[in-house]
């Protein structure tokens, strides 16, 4: 998605207004009643243990090797819930990051996982994970692991774990819980090696279900 700077937006607005002004003599200002704000009650805070503090402004750039690419695109996905409530597991790697229905897969309640087969062992620099961003939510028990073993019984590297209470049994994680946004969650994989990427979650702050819009795995094939 494009993110033009404020200066660019200002220029666009000024041009639009100037263009409109050329024909100002033919027109009258549009008089319309704009809807007033509706009064609301005290907002409910999003409260999750170890919730990451809010960041102001754009996410800092994350540098990866120039040869790094999204190895997960259109790769096969399997999961603990083979019959999702909504969508298909293949949506997770189809390149569509839209937040609306039809772009995400909804998995059953409780602890669930999805697994991407990168096709060959890879050195992974970073991952971007979009669970859901049409509503303010925090997904609980987010654990991301990499392995060459499709059953994840051996050679497992954990690259993200915010399951502070060890509800998934993967060890208590110290990574922060975070609020889903359209930017996706950037995970530093620190060069973890493996062919398979497995992502766990255990519901979210809005309901007990699990969702994925897209997962990108940025890296290079292992030599």
């Amino acid at each position: 998605m494009k993110r033009p700077s404020l200066r660019f937006l200002t220029a666009v607005l000024s041009s639009a207004i100037a263009a409109t002004a050329l024909h100002a003599e033919d027109k009258v200002p549009l008089q319309t009643e704009l809807p007033k704000p509706l009064f609301v009650g005290t907002p409910v805070p999003v409260k999750v243990d170890n919730l990451e503090p809010a960041r102001s402004g754009k996410r800092p750039d994350f540098l990866i090797p120039a040869s790094s690419k999204n190895l997960a695109l259109n790769k096969p996905v399997t999961g603990s819930d083979s019959m999702p409530l909504l969508g298909e597991l293949s949506l997770i790697t189809d390149g569509d990051k839209d937040g609306s229905e039809g772009s995400y897969v909804e998995l059953a309640k409780g602890a669930q996982w999805v697994q991407i087969d990168l096709g060959a062992p890879a050195v992974i620099d970073a991952m971007l994970v979009w669970h859901f961003h049409a509503q303010v939510r925090v997904y609980l028990g987010v654990v991301v692991q990499v392995s060459d073993d499709p059953s994840f019984a051996t050679g497992v590297t954990t690259v993200y774990n915010n399951d502070a209470k060890n509800l998934l049994g993967k060890g208590a994680g110290k990574d922060p819980a975070y609020i889903e946004t359209y930017e996706g969650r950037l995970i530093d994989a620190k060069g973890a090696k493996g062919r398979y990427v497995r992502l766990y979650s255990q519901g979210n702050t809005a309901n007990n279900l699990n969702h994925y819009i897209e997962v990108e795995v940025w890296g290079t094939p292992a030599k």
């Binding site: 639009a16 509706l38 009064f39 805070p45 402004g57």
Partner: protein, 493 residues
């Protein structure tokens, strides 16, 4: 000579009796003044500001059954703002509204001295320190919500009621009725507070039951009249006078569950659990000294009742699923009074004056450090339990960016701003000086050229994205520009 000496001594005592509360008021106000303008405006404050505008409009105040409470705060602040020439939100600044509450908070500290004859001078000074410097009291003296005003009225009622239960003077009963009526016209929680408080302080009254009954009936009648006056807009809208009664069912339902439901121990956690911004010393010190005060002054009937009162209020508030951190103030107030007694007892029992002074300095330093951390440095940090759903400082950035857009536009601040989001508060306050601003919960069919601010759920209505702006932790808004009617423009990037 002897007679003159007695007069001089009495005059000095009288002057001191006025000077000390005045000094306490000034000191408390000075503690409450910093950051009144710069702290981001909370959603509740923003809504309250708009209700003031409504109150000052020809249609006047009208009560809403679900939220936003009674009219006293709106009349009080509205009168002050009107006298300063500010009747519309665009003429208001945050500090103007918050100053009303800061003054009420400082008055609360001064009003503690109404209890000096009952509590004793040293205990009252101690209580003034806890209320004057304690982080929860300071924090909610800097936010434009009803709680501190309610607390001030409650303290006044306590002082009046205690004197009435001793003397039975009808004037005191009428004054108590006025204060109770004002409390009920301030916030609905006044009703259970009054129901819990009256029996506690009435039991053991030396008054014959007939005089008690007469006083209570007089106070009740006066309270009802006050409620009628305030809710009816001082008689202009008599049809609105019974709105408070109509809300009882909804308020009970709200108290028993819903959006702000938390476990029973939540107040203990908010008041006492350390977080990454530090230890809440006020919670521990007030509780600790309150227990000491209760023990040391257990023969004092007023102190015993304060203990029972604090316990009942705490149990009641904790048992109700509905909780917000400012509701803690109602049981922290009697605890602070007890803590004053505890501090006075400790002062007298410590073996040397030097040690007592050092201990006092330590308590003041701990309270002050916590207040600095919670009320200034981390005032809108989500880890601060006093900051409940705080607005973000990122709103300043949004305000600056919108000002730049307005400066670049020939229309200036008259440019069209369309807000499309399910959750957009406190934006109406942030955008109050952009007169052509509209608000939609669902995207309208005819979004027009101009500035568009959308929530995540409506993001597809932006032709392109800028970086998001945070309204509150976890609540985002996105700024975009539509250069032509949306029907002619592809909406997807």
């Amino acid at each position: 000579m002897g007679h003159t000496g007695k007069v001089t001594c009495a005059a000095r005592r009288h002057a001191l009796g006025l000077l000390v509360p005045l000094l306490a008021f000034v000191a408390a106000l000075l503690i409450r003044l910093p950051d009144l303008e710069s702290r981001p405006f909370h959603t509740d404050e923003a809504v309250n500001a708009f209700i003031i505008e409504e109150t000052l409009s020809p249609d006047g105040y009208h009560y809403r059954l679900n939220d936003h409470h009674g009219p006293t705060l709106f009349y009080l602040a509205g009168t002050a703002l009107k006298s300063a020439g500010s009747t519309h939100v665009e003429q208001m600044d945050a500090w103007m509204l918050r100053l009303v509450i800061a003054l009420a908070g400082a008055a609360l500290v001064a009003a503690l001295f109404l209890l000096r004859p009952t509590l004793g001078a040293a205990a009252t000074l101690g209580a003034a320190a806890f209320v004057g410097l304690g982080a929860p009291f300071v924090y909610y003296s800097g936010i434009f919500i009803h709680e501190t005003l309610l607390l001030l009225l409650l303290l006044g009622l306590l002082a009046v009621f205690w004197r009435w239960r001793e003397s039975g003077a009808i004037g005191l009963a009428v004054t108590g009725g006025i204060l109770a009526g004002l409390m009920l016209s301030t916030k609905e929680t006044a009703a259970p507070i009054l129901l819990l408080s009256v029996p506690v302080f009435l039991t053991g009254s030396p008054l014959p039951w007939r005089r008690q009954l007469v006083g209570l009936v007089a106070a009740t009648v006066v309270a009802v009249v006050v409620v009628f006056l305030f809710f009816s807009g001082f008689g202009r809208h008599p049809e609105r006078a019974l709105d408070l009664l109509a809300a009882v069912h909804q308020q009970i339902g709200r108290g028993l569950g819903g959006e702000h439901a938390y476990p029973w121990w939540t107040y203990l956690s908010w008041a006492g659990a350390p977080t990454r911004i530090g230890i809440p010393w006020s919670g521990w010190l007030i509780a600790g000294f309150a227990v000491a005060g209760l023990w040391c002054e257990r023969k004092n009937p007023f102190v015993r009742r304060l203990g029972l009162w604090a316990l009942l209020l705490f149990v009641f508030q904790s048992a109700l699923p509905y909780k917000t951190p400012w509701l803690m103030l109602v049981f922290l107030l009697p605890l602070a009074l007890l803590a004053g007694s505890g501090a006075a007892a400790a002062w007298n029992r410590l073996p040397s004056r030097r040690l007592a002074l050092a201990a006092t300095a330590l308590v003041v330093a701990l309270l002050g450090a916590e207040t600095y951390a919670r009320c200034l440095r981390h005032s809108v940090d989500p880890a601060n339990p006093l900051a409940y759903s705080p607005s973000s400082r990122d709103l300043d950035r949004l305000q600056r960016d919108l000002a730049s857009l307005a400066a670049a536009s020939p229309q200036g601040r008259d440019l069209l701003v369309q807000v499309v989001a399910k959750d957009y508060w406190p934006l109406p306050w942030t955008l109050r000086r952009f007169p052509h601003t509209g608000y939609w919960s669902e995207p309208p069919a005819d979004l027009r050229a101009g500035v568009v601010l959308v929530g995540p759920e409506a993001i597809n209505h932006l032709p392109s994205l800028t970086t998001p702006y945070e309204l509150r932790p976890g609540v985002w808004i996105f700024l975009g520009l539509l250069s032509a009617p949306s029907s002619d423009t592809p909406l997807h990037p």
